[in-house]
Amino acid sequence: MRLKILLAPILMIVIIVAVIWFVVPAYQGMSQKRSELKESTAKLEDLQNKSKTADKLVGDLQAKSSEQATVLTYLPASTLEEQIIDNLNYIASAEGVSIYNLSVKTISPQEIAAAGIVAANKSTKDQSLTLTEVSYGMVGSYDKIKNVLQKVFMLKRYNGVKSISIKSVSSPGAENKETPSDNLQADVKLAFDYLEGKESLDNLDSPLFTTGTFDMKAVDDINQLTSVEVIKITPPATGRANPFLP
């Protein structure tokens, strides 16, 4: 009889304990997992959408091979020193200007940071932009030097002037020092930056995955603002028994 009387309150206590300690935490745990699942599914769906967009972009890229070549020529993925030397020499020769002391030096972003150098025209958008400093001297008339500078500026490979120094040079044996000569000497320092290619993507935050189309304004700018084609150098016939002989 006593047991019967006590059974109801005991049951009530058991129910309350069960609800507080088991049922409610289990419900909360389930709710949390439900929201986590929702989140994970949304993330996966977003990734799948980005994957589809990426496939479309890769397809578009294959169709834009000439634009890709233009962009890669203008801002290559490596220094291509041979191309710089050959093109500068060609432009100067075509104008009848003699060039000397041509040097190409690549400065990595780490070296730039260590030296505290602020590269001329350096984009802060991408840290992997590598500065290639090209310096050379040339001797010629004002018009010819100006034409060389103009053609280098119009070259379909990015270059930015870091510094230029032009001064008149008196011809050897010139008797009348008072007469200014048109024989000028120019020392030019240019930045032929390049952008290393990506080995993998750090993240998928690029707006490209949202828009799904390429912004081709840069290609239009290259075509409109530059006109001097980059000469592609071909490897010569090589091989000699004694490399020390000319």
Partner: protein, 177 residues
Amino acid sequence: MSDINLTTEQKYEKKGFFSENLVPILFVILVLCMAAYGIFYYLEGSMTSKIDNTDSQYDSQYAELTTGNAKQAVDFQDRMDTIEDLMKTRPDIVKGLQEIEKRIAPGVYLKSYEYNAATNQITLVCATNNYRSVAEQILAFKGPAGEQSLFTNVTSGETSFNLQEGRIEFKVVISLS
């Protein structure tokens, strides 16, 4: 003799449904609680495995996407964005020379020209025969007041006399826009 009522007649004969069935109801509630716990526990486990499955699917697809062909597309766009930035800040040296050509005064000629991209300034050393030409040249480089020009600021004033050539030399520093 006192009157003792020994009757066994129940005073509260009419009990309510709830009070009569309290214990079975509580048993049912307890069973329901246990069932709810079991269901919630099962659902949580099932969702955890679904989350794990989704996450591993995400990881594999993410790795595929970041190392696959998508990087070419992103690289192409990044390259174009960088080109646009570079083109905007690219100084046109020849324009500066052409502007100097336009503004050179009679009787004055350049002895040297220096351009520095870090300061975006041109430093000229000019030569002439008289101070009137020096003043005219400085004025010509400055241009009319309020004029929109490539030359944003012109400073000068330092002159020297070159005995060997018999000419006045003066320095002009021009800031470009």
